[in-house]
């Protein structure tokens, strides 16, 4: 079963820009460790981190079908900071991984307890195989 784990952080999460070096390194090391573990267990499909929201463009098709871009991301409390797609044996395992990621260390090494949105990727069996 495939799941996507979406890590949403508060826009204020850009506070990461001013974290002390020690805390930053601990955080980066933790995330690398998670990816290593998922890979080692044969569960990792993909993991991506996304740029800060000020790099985002909102795109719509104009009258002629050409892209019309909005300069900056509109105000939003939360934004998607990164995601994992994992292939695991049961939903419990997906939640377990999500909880682990959620508790990534933040300033002072305290767990961030970020909200992680877990959703199944549409890859379930057809009805006659259930």
């Amino acid at each position: 079963m495939k799941y996507i784990l979406m890590m949403n952080t508060m826009k204020a999460g850009q506070g990461v820009l001013s974290w002390p070096r020690k805390d930053l390194q601990a955080h980066i090391g933790f995330m690398m460790g998670v990816n290593q573990e998922l890979h080692g267990r044969g569960e990792l499909v993909s993991a991506e981190g996304l740029s800060f929201p000020d790099q985002a463009k909102l795109v719509r098709a104009g009258k002629d079908g050409q892209p019309v871009t909005d300069g900056i991301f509109p105000e939003s409390k939360e934004f998607l900071a990164g995601f994992w797609i994992i292939d695991v044996d049961n939903p419990q395992r997906a939640y377990e991984i999500a909880a682990k990621v959620s508790a990534a260390p933040g300033p002072g090494g305290a767990p961030l307890n970020m909200p992680i949105e877990v959703r199944p990727v549409m890859s379930g069996p057809p009805p006659e195989m259930l």
Partner: protein
């Protein structure tokens, strides 16, 4: 002397994989490394044989290449240890191992099958290892079939082998008693490989390795090895009788076509007759099990010229038997469908009510999908639309969601004023 590579060669090559692995694992007494070595030999064969032709003795060729890989691996292992402790004598033992003469055991494929489907493994690990060690697939092919990166699949396989090593499974044929105990797990793994072949996500139909065919091939070879077991035959029959409808079950845009709307002229008649023949022989042995019963149900569908001509009372009776042999909420759900066909949709709805309290299935999209269908049959379009929509929101199958949304939209159009 070589033979030309043709359509049958790939089949031949994959079929040799477990035999070669058996010979190499026995000689070197190291299943895990032998399995890696055979994989390398398989990849070498897939690269070289189409160009250079199939060797006169393909099995000998593969054993030789795999054994060479093994000795290379051992030599570097020994060199590493020598640097640490200096073990000279082992190098001599090594040379004697280089003499390659196949010590074949016809049971090797069976030993490997039981080993790879060991209950200590999670289903996904057992599936991956079985496909590589018994099925002779490459890691890349397995990764492609499951739409995961090759490195991930490689890790899954190596972890599975580690689990086998830790649980100390010996490389020998399980006793008849052990075999009886473990066979359900083996058959379940084969069935999971088959059903995985039917799951689809967006774009998965493009160039995806055909797992359903692979599962049929593996089950066929299991049937050859265990010819007297009626459940093995039942499983093979079930796969053939289900796969026979493959061409009819999806439309040009991969959309799902349910059984009652399928063009039955597209069903594969030869697969159906083979399935029925296998099933008839299995049932005559008098030890009925869940695969034979499911195959029997598939056979009743396959033999009917239309959904109206289907022998629903027989299907209902078979589901009642199945509920006794292998009770599960999914069986009850299917029983409700058959009961509705025999006694009307109200009876079906009544049977579904019991499932609402069953935590194993309550909230499952199938419950709403089936309920929607019953409401539609009864003429309650509003309720049908509502349940089709709930089901669409809950399913994790993309073609199924599209199907359910289309059903809801079709009924909603009929409800609009001005339409007949």
């Amino acid at each position: 002397m070589t033979n030309k590579w043709d359509a049958t060669s790939e089949h031949l090559l994959r079929g040799l994989a477990p035999q070669v692995l058996g010979a190499v694992a026995r000689r070197f007494r190291d299943f895990s490394s032998a399995e890696d070595a055979v994989q390398e030999a398989m990849i070498a064969a897939f690269t070289q044989w189409p160009q250079q032709g199939v060797p006169e003795n393909p099995r000998g060729w593969l054993i030789q290449v795999a054994s060479r890989r093994m000795t290379d691996h051992m030599r570097s292992e020994i060199a590493r240890r020598e640097r640490e402790t200096a073990v000279a004598a082992e190098t001599e033992n090594l040379t004697s191992l280089l003499v390659v003469e196949a010590d074949m055991d016809p049971d090797d494929t069976l030993i490997l099958l039981f080993m790879c489907c060991h209950p200590a493994l999670s289903p996904s690990s057992a599936i991956a290892l079985t496909l590589r060690a018994v099925g002779g697939l490459t890691t890349a092919e397995i990764a492609n079939a499951f739409l995961v990166p090759e490195a991930t699949m490689a890790q899954r396989i190596s972890r599975a082998k580690q689990t086998i090593k830790t649980s100390g499974v010996p490389f020998r044929l399980p006793s008849p008693l052990e075999r009886t105990g473990q066979l359900p797990t083996v058959l379940h793994v084969l069935y999971l490989i088959f059903s995985e072949g039917y799951t689809s996500s967006i774009g998965s139909h493009l160039q995806r390795f055909d797992l359903a065919c692979e599962a049929i091939r593996l089950t066929r070879s299991t049937k050859t090895l265990l010819p007297d077991n009626p459940e093995v035959a039942g499983l093979l029959a079930l796969m053939l009788l289900t796969d026979a409808r493959r061409a009819a079950r999806t439309g040009p845009d991969e959309e799902l076509i349910p059984l009652d709307k399928q063009d039955r002229t597209l069903w594969d008649r030869s697969a159906i007759s083979e399935g029925i023949e296998l099933l008839t022989a299995a049932l005559s042995k008098g030890s009925v099990g869940l695969y034979q019963l499911q195959a029997a149900i598939a056979a009743v569908h396959d033999e009917a010229a239309s959904v109206e001509n289907t022998d629903w009372p027989q299907i209902l009776a078979l589901y009642e038997l199945l509920q006794r042999v292998a009770p599960s909420p999914m069986v009850t759900l299917n029983l409700a469908i058959a009961a509705a066909m025999v006694h009307g949709p109200a009876k079906g709805l009544e049977l579904l009510r019991a499932l609402d309290r069953d935590p194993r299935i309550a909230g499952h999209y199938r419950l709403d999908a089936v309920r929607a269908h019953f409401f539609e049959e009864m003429g309650d379009r509003e309720a049908a639309i509502q349940h089709y929509r709930i089901a669409a929101a809950r399913t994790t199958s993309m073609p199924e969601r599209n199907y359910l949304l289309t059903q809801a939209a079709r009924l909603a159009e009929l409800l609009k004023p001005g339409c007949p």
